[in-house]
Each structure stands twice: as C-alpha cells, then as structure tokens.
C-alpha cells in the first residue's frame, strides 16, 4: 500500500547527481523519471503565510528555486518530494495527509520521497517541530495550485468552464454532466507541465477536511515490522568496506605516537591516514574492529579539573553577557513590594540524545562525484560539507537519507558523513562508517549542562510581585514569561549552541532545546512560591494567568487528572507544570510516590493536555505526546553524562540509564481542540513539562526541593535530609 522508494536499487542507474539545480535541469531530470508530471515552483509565488516563516525562521540565504514538488504519475499516483527526513516523529504520514487533503486524492495514492538532495527541494533540516507547522504550508499551497492548474487543463479537455468542475479522489468532472470526467493522470500523461495560476487559490477550510484531522496509522509501519525498512547502516554496495577510526581516549587528548604496523599486515585490511584521521577498512565490520584493536597509540591526556560536579561553577565563571528574552517593569521595584522573597539555584546536567541508531554514513566517491547515505537530520547541510571537504561542486554530491533511527536533535550534526566521504575518497571503495555506541556517546552534541537562578517574591496578598530570572547556557527557549507579573526580567547567559571553549565537549539541540531546563526551574520555583503564599499550585498559576490557551490546557489537565485544591506540600505527590513550546501550549500533572529509604521515585501517573491548533494526525499527535512523556522520564530521573578531564564515564546503556518498560507511569493525553488555529508543533512540546511536573510532585510528596536534575535516588535522599 505504502511505497517508500528503495534508495539503492531503483535510482542507481542515474549517475548524474545534481543539486541547487536550475529549473531547466530539474524539469529535464523529472522528465527522465517518466510518467506525467507537474512541478510546482514558487519563485516569488509564495503567499505571505508561507513566506513569513521561511524568511523569518530559515534565514535569508535560502535558495529560492523550488519549495515543493509533486509528480502525478500516469497511474494517478502522486509523489511528494520533501527535503525533510523521517526519524520517527511521523511527517511521512502527516505530509501525505495534507497533500491528499488539498489535492483531493486518496491518501493511499500518495508516495513520499524524503531527504534526497537530488530530488527534493532544499531544506534547512528536520527539527524544532517545524515539519507540519511550517513546511506543511508549502505542501498544501503546492497542492492547492496544482489542483487549480489541473482544473484549467480539464476545462480545456472537457470543454467546460472551470467553475463547473469538481475534484474528487483524483478525478475531475463536470458538475452538470458527471460522466464527463478525466483523471489527474490522464491530464498530465507524458507531459511536463509548468503552469501557474494568476491568483493562488485559498486553501480548504478545516471544516471541509476529510483526511487531515483524522487519525492515521504510520505509513511506514509495514516496512518497520518486517525488517524491510532500510536505515543507513543497511545500505550495501558492491566492493564496500567498513571503517573503524582511531579515537582519542578523552576530549582534548593529543596523539603522541601511533603504530599501525600490525594492522597493515592483517589480511584484507587497509589502513588509511588522512591528516588527523587514522582508520582501518575491512570488508566486515568485525574485521575492522579487530584491526583497530591492533593499533597502538599514545595520547597526552588533558588535566582540566572539569568534571560533572565542578562543571556548574566553571560555567558560571565563564558566562557570556546576557541577552534579555522578555521583561516588564523593574524587578528591583517589584522587590520593594514583596512580603517574602525566594531565591533558588537550579542545576541541570549534560544529557545525551542516545538514539537507538548510532550515527552511520556510507559514501561512494567516483571521480568528481560523490554519493552519500547518512543518518542525518540535515541532508542539505551534509551535501555542502561533503562537497567542501572533497573539493567538489555541491551539485556533484548527492545525499540520501534512508529511515533514521531516532535523532532528537543529535543528528543535526553529522561528522560521520564527512569521515565516510574522506575515507571513500582515499580508499577508492565505498566506505561505511557506523559509530559504535562508545563513539555515539563520545561525539554526541549533548544537551548542555545549565544553571538557573531565580529570585522572586510575593506580596502580602499572595500575588507575585517580581520575578528575576537568569539562565546560564541552557538557552532562551521556554524561559519567556507568560504570567501576570508586574515586574519581571528573563536574562539568558549563553545559548545551547556551542559556546566556544567553554563546554568540555560538543553541545547542541536536544528535543525542545532549553525549554526542558527553563520550564523545570520555573515550575519548581512557582510551587515554592505557592507554598509560601499558602495557595494551591494550580490556583496560584490560574490567578496569575489571563492567556486563554494556557488556562485552557491547565483546566483540561486538571479535569482529566481529577485535581483537587490543596496547599503544597500536601503529601499526595501531585505535580504540575505548564509551558509554551513550538507555539503549542502544554500542561502536565503527575502523581509520584517517593521511597524515603531508597530515594527512589515511582511515577504513578502522568496527564498531559496540549493545545496545538489544528491537528493533522490526531493519532500521530497522541503518540508524540506519549513518546515525549516516556522519554522525559529520563532527563528528570536518571540521565546525566558523567565525565572527568574530557573523558566520558558513560559510554553505553549499562551506566547511562534511559527509560525502560518498568518505569512506565499510567499516561493519559488530552488534546484541547483549537480548529481555527493553523497547526502548531507536536514533536517536542509534551517533553518540556517532565522535569517540572516530577520535581513539583516530589516537592508535594515530601517537601524536598529537588534543585538538580536528574533526581537520582542519592539526590532525593540528600534533599530529604535537609528539607527546605
């Protein structure tokens, strides 16, 4: 039913990869694929709605050639080409729904081609819950215009005015003579059509949707349950070899000497030295591992004194100048009106992405052309980096992204593709680089360790009088104030992007970057304030909230949870957290039980309510919420990267503890309907409350203020020992 193109077989006869292609070249290329074709290109043709995010979010140096391509085959199947990739969050399903909806075709007749730089329009990367929210608009507008063009063609064919034509399920017919009809495929057969409408049609109102807004199962499930789904490490090419690369034992280590002589004598082993890169190649991955094991190398180890405990002071000592994310009034003024002041410092450790699929890339370099398959969230960036590294024109590099086995931000960086390309060029063979789990941890771009300092106060009536918020190194996202506080200021010292020379290793975006840290700190502080004011934490929040969407999600979560007002700590173990992420409003409530002797936290129940505007695939949206809640248990309870002097102490799942089946709480999700608002993000929002909801639940259960995530048993016991 669902066809996802085979990335190796089908297209392997095409030997002229090109990117940044001219319109003419593109049309020619599409013509080679056979069948009827419509290309929609949007040179200057974007609506304001589609243009705004493109210009504002993606930057101004975005190529302006094409935004969305559709191909209508002779068999009436429609292929949708998008530069996004599928790593589990489900755009492969939601794009197909949006296209089918707007084009009036059956959902089942859509084929998706994703993440191929040769065939898909340029895209910055798959992240930030942007696929449906922003790119979806391009897909819908493309479909809307194509439908308009098809109607014009049909009007000529059926000798009937356009306004009398009806589109339905891939057919166009005359309203007055229903038997006078033509399929989309019949209209486009054998032709490359490039035609635009004078006026862009308005998109369907949500009230007319029959495909969008309905729950659809994943369209890639069949491939994934049968083992047929191809991931990068599953690509096989004739003559390919597997690489293992000599790695330093610690970040900042300097290689003093290396002896590869044993490896050089081993059967079928090729040793490659390319500048700083030393690798062994072998027809089998285990053969390459064995050869790597024979290499003797000495390193000079760094002694920075920085480890997972000293890191916070190190960060504070190296903080850059702040950027103010939001402010009103003057916190100093507000402080004068405060009856009580609460001052707290919250810490977050480094957290790993730890996708189940380690980074992998296959590169094949032939003369002045290169083909690269990579598990990456950024195929077009990989294309330019490979081109730059190999000294090739960018159009000579084709990057293809098969299914990606989880990214969560960690596959925005794709060093492995550069390594594969360098080795393939030097060796002359196609080279597979498949990082080990140890390499995956070592080169991960961790969620940065961070410090949040909050000084806030309440007046005699129990209302917040000021809020002075400083966040170090987590970043801005999620820290902006949405409560009614007369005097507040949110200052951001350093973003989650690499701050050169400060973090002991790479950092980067981790599912809803910054928001997890900011919302945890804010919500624990809020509950401490509510406690001081003698108020129920939900009441306390609502009494400072005018924003209807935020009130809506809090109320919906409370209803589902069965929240009853009480001062906190109530002993019940009820937690609450809320925030805005990817323009989606989210509120969570949880119930925990704390074992005082072991310090273990049992999460019994999590309720999450989300207002995400129109929901394209309610099934997919709920699954993303469940996934976020489950994944979020990790950074809240157990996940932190231990390290010392540049050496990582966690390099596999024996010590880096990610959520398991036995951790599962009862999970309940509520989608708060908001059908008049365009779709908002869904891949990240529900994770942002997990730190806050569990920290406030532990506080409610025990009165212990968990000032550091993750809340390990040791930290819980320690906090219980010195309550307050």
């Amino acid at each position: 039913m669902t066809r996802k193109e085979n990335f190796v077989g089908k297209e392997s006869s095409v030997t002229a990869p090109f990117a940044s292609l001219s319109r003419r070249e593109f049309l020619k290329r599409m013509g080679l694929l056979g069948g009827g074709l419509i290309v929609y290109c949007t040179i200057g043709g974007l609506t304001a709605q589609a243009r705004a995010p493109r210009d504002g979010y993606l930057g101004s140096n975005v190529p302006t050639n094409f935004n969305a391509f559709l191909r209508i085959g002779i068999d009436n199947r429609v292929t949708c080409f998008v530069g996004k990739i599928e790593m589990g969050q489900g755009p492969i399903t939601s794009f197909a729904q949006m296209l089918a909806e707007e084009l009036d075709i059956a959902y089942e007749s859509v084929d998706m081609v994703m993440g191929d730089t040769n065939r898909c329009p340029w895209d910055a990367g798959t992240w930030g819950s942007l696929s449906t929210r922003y790119y979806g608009i391009f897909v819908k507008e493309a479909a809307g215009e194509v439908k308009g063009v098809l109607k014009e063609l049909a009007a000529e064919r059926l000798l009937c005015p356009v306004k009398r034509l009806v589109t339905e399920n891939g057919l166009i017919f005359d309203r007055n003579r229903p038997m006078s009809r033509v399929t989309y495929g019949e209209l486009t057969t054998g032709k490359i059509i490039e035609r635009h409408l004078k006026d862009l049609p308005s998109l369907k109102p949500a009230s007319e949707y029959t495909i969008s807004g309905r729950p659809y199962l994943r369209r890639d499930a069949f491939e994934k349950v049968t083992g047929k789904a191809q991931y990068t490490a599953d690509i096989r090419l004739p003559g390919m070899v597997y690489a293992r690369i000599l790695r330093p034992p610690a970040h900042g280590a300097r290689r003093l000497s290396v002896d590869t002589s044993t490896a050089e004598r081993m059967k079928d082993v090729q040793v490659i030295r390319d500048g700083d890169l030393i690798a062994v190649l072998h027809p089998h991955p285990d053969g390459a591992a064995k050869a790597l094991g024979s290499i003797k190398a000495n390193f000079d180890l760094p002694d920075t004194g920085i480890n997972d405990q000293t890191i916070f002071n190190h960060l504070l000592a190296n903080a850059p100048e702040p950027v103010v994310a939001s402010e009103a009034g003057n916190p100093k003024e507000g402080e004068k009106k405060a009856a009580s002041i609460i001052e707290e410092t919250y810490l977050n450790s480094y957290v790993s992405h730890a996708p189940m699929e380690p980074h992998a890339a296959m590169a094949s370099v032939d003369g002045n052309k290169a083909m690269v398959w990579a598990s990456t969230q950024t195929p077009f960036n990989v294309q330019s980096l490979v081109a730059q590294t190999l000294g090739l024109p960018v159009e000579n590099v084709r990057v293809m992204v098969p299914f990606v086995g989880g990214g969560f931000g960690g596959k925005s960086a794709s060093v492995q593709a550069i390594e594969a390309a360098r080795l393939a060029k030097r060796s002359g063979n196609p080279v597979m680089v498949n990082w080990t789990r140890e390499e995956e941890f070592f080169f991960d771009t961790f969620r940065p360790a961070a410090v949040v300092k909050i000084r806030s106060g309440i007046d005699g009536a129990g209302r917040m009088s000021f809020w002075d918020y400083q966040v170090y190194f987590a970043g801005k996202r999620g820290c902006q104030n949405f409560y009614e506080i007369p005097h507040h200021r949110e200052a951001v010292y350093g973003e989650w992007r690499i701050e050169p020379g400060i973090h002991p290793f790479a950092v980067g975006p981790w599912r809803a970057p910054a928001a997890n840290t900011n919302i945890y700190a804010r919500d624990l502080q809020m509950n401490i304030m509510a406690s001081m004011a003698g108020k129920d934490p939900l009441e306390f929040r609502l009494s400072h909230l005018k924003d209807k969407r935020m009130r809506g999600v809090l109320t919906a979560a409370a209803k589902q949870f069965g929240w009853t007002p009480s001062k906190t700590p109530s002993g019940r173990g009820y937690g609450i957290s809320c925030g805005i992420d990817a323009e989606t409003y989210v509120a969570s409530m949880a119930e925990v039980e704390v074992d005082r002797s072991s310090g273990m936290i049992e999460v019994k129940r999590v309720v999450c309510a989300q207002d995400m505007g129109q929901v394209v695939n309610p099934q997919g949206a709920v699954i993303q919420m469940e996934g976020c809640i489950t994944m979020g248990l990790g950074y809240a309870l157990s996940e932190e990267v231990h390290f010392s002097n540049g050496r990582l102490l966690d390099v596999n799942f024996d010590t880096y503890d990610i959520p398991r089946f036995s951790w599962l709480p009862k999970i309940e999700t509520v989608i708060v309907p908001n059908p008049t608002l365009a779709p908002k993000g869904g891949g990240e929002p529900a994770i942002v409350c997990m730190g806050g909801v569990l920290a406030t639940a532990v506080y409610d259960a025990t009165g212990a203020k968990m000032r550091q995530l993750p809340m390990t048993p040791q930290r819980v016991k320690s906090a219980l020992g010195k309550k307050g």
């Binding site: 890639d220 083992g227 089998h284 285990d286 024979s294 997972d308 469940e626 024996d654 398991r660 390990t712």
Partner: protein
C-alpha cells in the same frame, strides 16, 4: 551571592541480564582465524556457511547473509536492537558467536512472515502504532515472540518485566505492551 551545593552523584547499581558470551575478544588479533563450516537453520531453511567460527552472529547475518533486520545498537547486549531467536529464545546476536548456532534454529525478523502473512505480533505492532523510528522494532517483536513461546498468556506485569532489557528511545513502550497483549489474545494461548 549564591552558593552551589553540588551533591556527589551516586552511580546507580544496575544488575544486567548479561547474555551468554562466547569468549570472543575482538581485539585478540593474534588468534589464528579458523574457518569452519557452520550448518544451521535460518528462517526455516538449512544454511551452510564457511566462516571464521568465532565471528559474531550479528555481523555474519548483516554482512555475509544480507539480513539487516537485526540492528547494531550498542554492541554489548544492553539494548536488544540485535535480538534474534535461537531455538525460539530471544538472544542478543551481538553477543553470540556464529559457532554457537551450529545445529540450531535461528529466526530473524525477515523470517517471521509465513506464506506472505504477517505474524500476529507484527500485525498488532502495526495496529497499535507500536513504533516510531522503528530501529528497536525487530528486536521488540522477536523478544515478544520469545516471551509468548514461554508464557502464552502473560500478564501486563510479566510483559513489562520480560521486555525490560529491550530499549526504545522514542517512547513507544505503552503501545508495545498493548500490541503484545493483543497478539497474545489473538493467539489464544497457542504457539506464536
């Protein structure tokens, strides 16, 4: 103004269900390669391969035999992505030598369909959307198969405890449990 109180972290003591290990040391390159003929049943068909007998089953499956459904996830038997069935028992193929399966029955995800029909566990995974990125899915399904062989009508708690060493990063756990329960009901206590 603020003082940081940084607590000493306590590394959680974890008891791992360590799979059997054959003693292969990939770094012992001095060992003489011993090519042996290994005969075993793979997905219901007899196979005979000439191979260095200490090589890891995972890599022989993935590279020599072209069966890429078993995934490399951690290399230490800690994640379950490489799970295969050996005589109906789920095992991490990254921890088994190919010699170990001589004379045994090996089943990979590719061999689970029969006569073009998906196995009830596969159907249930589709029905409940019990997957996201899909990288852990082969291992999850085969682990569930093994569970239903030994315990055809597991309780929810038994499913959770049996599946606990198979990791999923996307958070499909809730649906995986539902899928296994449904498959078990459909099989009515019969062999999976």
């Amino acid at each position: 103004m603020f003082s940081l109180s940084i607590l000493k972290h306590n590394r959680p003591a974890k008891i791992l269900t360590r799979p059997l290990v054959t003693g292969e040391n990939p770094f012992n390159h001095r060992r003489l390669e011993m090519i042996k003929t290994i005969q075993f049943n793979l997905n219901d068909k007899p196979h005979s391969i000439e191979v260095d007998h200490e090589r890891t089953l995972l890599w022989v499956l993935r590279t020599d035999l072209g069966l890429t459904g078993a995934k490399f996830g951690c290399g230490e038997g800690l994640c379950g992505a490489c799970t295969v069935l050996v005589d109906d028992e789920a095992m991490p193929s990254c921890q088994i030598s190919v010699e170990y399966v001589a004379g045994r029955e090996v089943k990979t995800i590719e061999g689970l369909e029969s006569n073009g029909q998906l196995h009830p566990i596969q159907r249930a995974f589709i029905k409940y959307d019990a997957l996201q990125c899909g990288f852990c899915t082969s291992g999850m399904i085969l682990k569930a198969y093994s569970l239903l062989v030994s315990n055809p009508m597991p309780t929810r708690d038994q499913i959770i405890s049996e599946m606990d060493d198979n990791l999923c990063r996307c958070g499909a756990h809730v649906r995986i449990i539902q899928a296994i329960q449904t498959a078990s009901e459909e099989l009515k206590g019969g062999r999976p």
